[in-house]
Amino acid sequence: MPSLDDYKGQTPAWCPGCGNFGILKAFKDAMVEMGKEPHEFTIVSGIGQAGKFPHYLKCNTFNGLHGRTLPVATGMRLANSGMTVIAVAGDGDCYGEGGNHLIHAIRRNINVKLFVHDNQVYGLTKGQASPTSTETGKGGMKTKNQPFGILSEQLNPIALAVALDCSFVARGFAGDMAHLKEIIKEAAGHTGFSLVDILQPCVSFNKINTFEWYKERVYRIEAGYNPEDRITAFAKALEWGERIPLGVIYRNNRPTLEEQIPLIAETPLVKQSVDLSRIAATMKDFY
């Protein structure tokens, strides 16, 4: 059984007080509680503060490009469907640069767990608006590179995911580690593409959506809530502002991409040996 010590990675280069620390803690705790060994999973991360995540614990890691976590993770799962593959991305990373891959990863229902460190800002590049930033006119921040303010409507990733019939959609909060840990475990246990949008205060660049701001608004979704009804889930997804729901918002049991490919339904591709004995026979097709 792994212990927290097995998960000790490099010293984080995050700012003191950053919400990412809470996510890191919740994640490690979840892995330890699930008895997952570091070599049993791979994290694919992008570029941004969130992208540095895998360096700060221990696991197989592919820290790729900004915005491209999901295609890499998809290729990995198809090649090795025995491996747990986790994608860690920033809100800019995943909803901005990588938006198209999100749409299509959800459609594929590749069994990847996506954790978005959603600080509603571009952290690493010093405070530009991200897709989830609130419009300046609606109380959002001002940025240096947007002379007319943030004008695009704040993206609601949860509503987007529900609309795309995403297999598992949840929201967590870096300031509620215990709850977040449970969501991480639930996502990891779910079979199918899982999006967990994690509210993550950026203490350096987002002076609006602070720990306090979130704490005043978030609530754990009530017990009787049925996350399997898409219309209900859509309505729940639209909640934002005064009250922000935390927890599993939508879930279904669509078959995963991997399950639908007979070739790898039993044995991961990487475990199958290559047989070239039939090449000569195949060449005969051309006669």
């Binding site: 197989n60 491209r68 090649a79 491996m83 199958q272 039939r278 006669y287």
Partner: protein, 574 residues
């Protein structure tokens, strides 16, 4: 014996089926066959053509003179009629074309009427036409009947026999009404069947024979053929084929699969490759092997989607931000495409770098005939650390500095060791760094340590023709076929040869074969390129300081023709 058949028609009229059937029959009959299609970027209408050349000897290009012309559209007569040979014949259906030709070189065959009267449906007009061509050639119908039986197996006995009757009707009609056609030999002498394979299929087959297990791509002409071929063998060979949402996803998926431990490939054309360029750089930084088939077509931008050009050599060479090594192969024939695809996979894995197979629409879509492809030595060197062997290591660092310069590449999950990599500059373990010392060593490892051994892997160019040529025609990639035929054409009257480069980068050294000496000693050294700016000539100058005496460039979106190139060279010779 060296004949050309040309079938023309609108997209959707079925000239591809007619052409494919005839080409297959001729190859099965033992002829050397070469086919080439000219088509527009539309699904129906327009004007397309399908050329089949067959001969008792090796052929590697089309020829202009047509022996049998089968126009299914009136434009076919207008555009190609003048290319009909003296002894040629034009087979057409005056009713369908609403045009009646005069003269002894045309034969009016009521394809549609015969289809209705013998097959019971106008849809079989194309079958009648195939039968008629065979009749003109004096070939039997057994082969065709076999193909009909195979093709319509699922549609039932009825359809099969109707088609067989239609074919027979065309055959008889032609034989009866084309008396002087009897002179055509019915069979190649040796009677041994040839295989017929396109550039795309050859790359696909090469990938399969390299143990490729993952192919992700977004459709784009002229690379889609590779995906289709590999997809057709996916079940049999255990290959996951995934249509990506875009080309960025395609290459990143391939990198994910490769990192996870299987051989992975993607394919695209110039526009899609543009989108893959960031991923190419990622492959280099993370030292993740990947093979990319880049099928060129005329650019910039969308250009001519279904036509050909060699316009992206410089781009392939320099694509990607930052500095890193790569391999670039530009096969000249399907045979080379097969072998070089295998070599691309091997080198990509061995050196943990990206390898690019640079083809174009011409090579992708033409089909060539061979007795067979050489399969000796088809085996896979597995350069990855797996299972026991990986677990047994006392410690493991993905990007370790080693004596050979190549870091050990373990398959994640196969041992307790962690496999970590990063698109940021990283240390031996694969974690982000900021310091200058590590950076220097990593650049040396990724770049300077790999290039010299990699360069040793590269084979010299091929010399075809005279061993001490006075006239030397240089080319790369898909111009192989046409240059070779032009050399044959001029060989009787001058000391001429072709110098063909298919392994382009690292640029071949001269140790094994001093091709530079040959170039310098030739009176005329002409660089023949299917592009406007002479990209290979430029590369030659950069790499060796050598400048060709002459250049022949073609940039109208069409491949060179033998006749056209013969003329261009004649003009140079003065």
């Amino acid at each position: 014996m060296d004949y050309s058949i040309r079938i023309t028609g609108e997209a959707g009229q079925g000239i591809q089926t007619i052409g494919d059937t005839l080409a297959k029959l001729l190859a099965r009959a033992g002829y050397y066959v070469f086919t080439q299609q000219d088509y527009e970027s539309r699904i129906r209408g327009g004007h397309n053509s399908y050329r089949i050349r067959f001969s008792a000897g090796t052929i590697t290009a089309s020829q202009a003179k047509i022996r049998i012309l089968v126009p299914l559209d009136r434009e076919g007569i207008a555009l190609h009629g003048k290319e009909l040979a003296e002894e040629g014949i034009l087979l057409y259906d005056s009713v369908s074309l609403k045009e009646k030709l005069t003269g002894s070189r045309s034969l009016d065959i009521p394809f549609a009427d015969l289809a209705i009267s013998h097959g019971g449906n106008k849809i079989m007009a194309n079958t009648v036409a195939v039968g008629a061509v065979l009749g003109v050639l004096g070939m039997g119908l057994e082969g065709l009947n076999r193909i009909i039986t195979d093709t319509f197996q699922k549609k039932g006995e009825e359809i099969i026999s109707a088609n067989i009757r239609a074919a027979l009707a065309g055959h008889q009609y032609a034989k009866e009404n084309c008396p002087h056609c009897a002179s055509v030999p019915g069979m190649a002498e040796d009677g041994k069947g040839k295989m017929l394979i396109s550039g795309s299929e050859a790359i696909g087959l090469g990938a399969i024979a390299s143990g490729c297990r993952f192919y992700a791509a977004y459709p784009m002409t002229p690379s889609t053929g590779i995906m289709n071929y590999i997809a057709s063998k996916a079940h049999e060979y255990g290959i996951v084929v995934e249509q990506a949402e875009d080309e960025i996803a395609a290459i990143n998926m391939a990198l994910g699969a490769s990192f996870a431990g299987v051989r992975a490939m993607t394919g695209t054309s110039g526009g899609g490759f543009s989108l893959m360029v960031e991923g190419l750089s990622l492959a280099a930084m993370t030292e993740t092997p990947v093979v990319i088939a880049l099928g060129q077509r005329p650019g910039p931008a969308t250009g001519f989607p279904t036509r050909t050009e060699q316009g992206e050599l410089g781009f392939a060479l320099h694509a990607g931000h930052g500095e890193f090594p790569r391999v670039i192969f530009a096969p000249g024939t399907p045979e080379q495409a097969f072998h070089l695809t295998r070599k691309a996979f091997d080198l990509a894995e061995k050196y943990q770098i990206p390898a690019i197979i640079l083809t174009d629409q011409h090579l992708a879509d033409t089909t060539w005939s061979y007795d067979s492809l050489d399969l000796t030595g088809i085996e896979i060197n597995d350069y990855r650390l797996r299972g026991e062997q990986f677990q047994a290591l006392p410690e493991y660092k993905r990007h370790a500095f080693t004596g050979s310069g190549i870091s050990p590449f373990g398959v994640p999950g196969e041992a307790r060791h962690l496999v970590v990599t990063d698109s940021d500059e990283h240390d031996e373990e694969g974690h982000i760094v900021e310091d200058a010392e590590t950076r220097i060593r990593m650049v040396q490892k990724r770049l300077f340590r790999k290039l010299p051994p990699l360069r040793k892997e590269i084979a010299p160019p091929t010399l075809y023709g005279h061993k001490k040529p006075v006239v030397l025609l240089a080319g790369w990639g898909s111009t192989f076929g046409v240059i070779r035929e032009v050399v044959d054409y001029y060989a009787p009257v001058m000391d001429i040869a072709m110098l063909h480069f298919s392994e382009i980068y690292p640029f071949p050294a001269t140790g094994q074969f001093n091709y530079l000496k040959l170039l310098r000693e030739a009176e005329l050294a002409v660089c023949v390129e299917n592009n406007a700016t002479g990209q290979f000539a430029r590369l030659m100058r950069t790499e060796t300081g050598y400048s060709f005496t002459n250049m022949i460039n073609k940039y109208d979106g069409r491949p060179f023709s033998v006749e056209g190139l013969v003329e261009e060279i004649r003009a140079i010779l003065g």
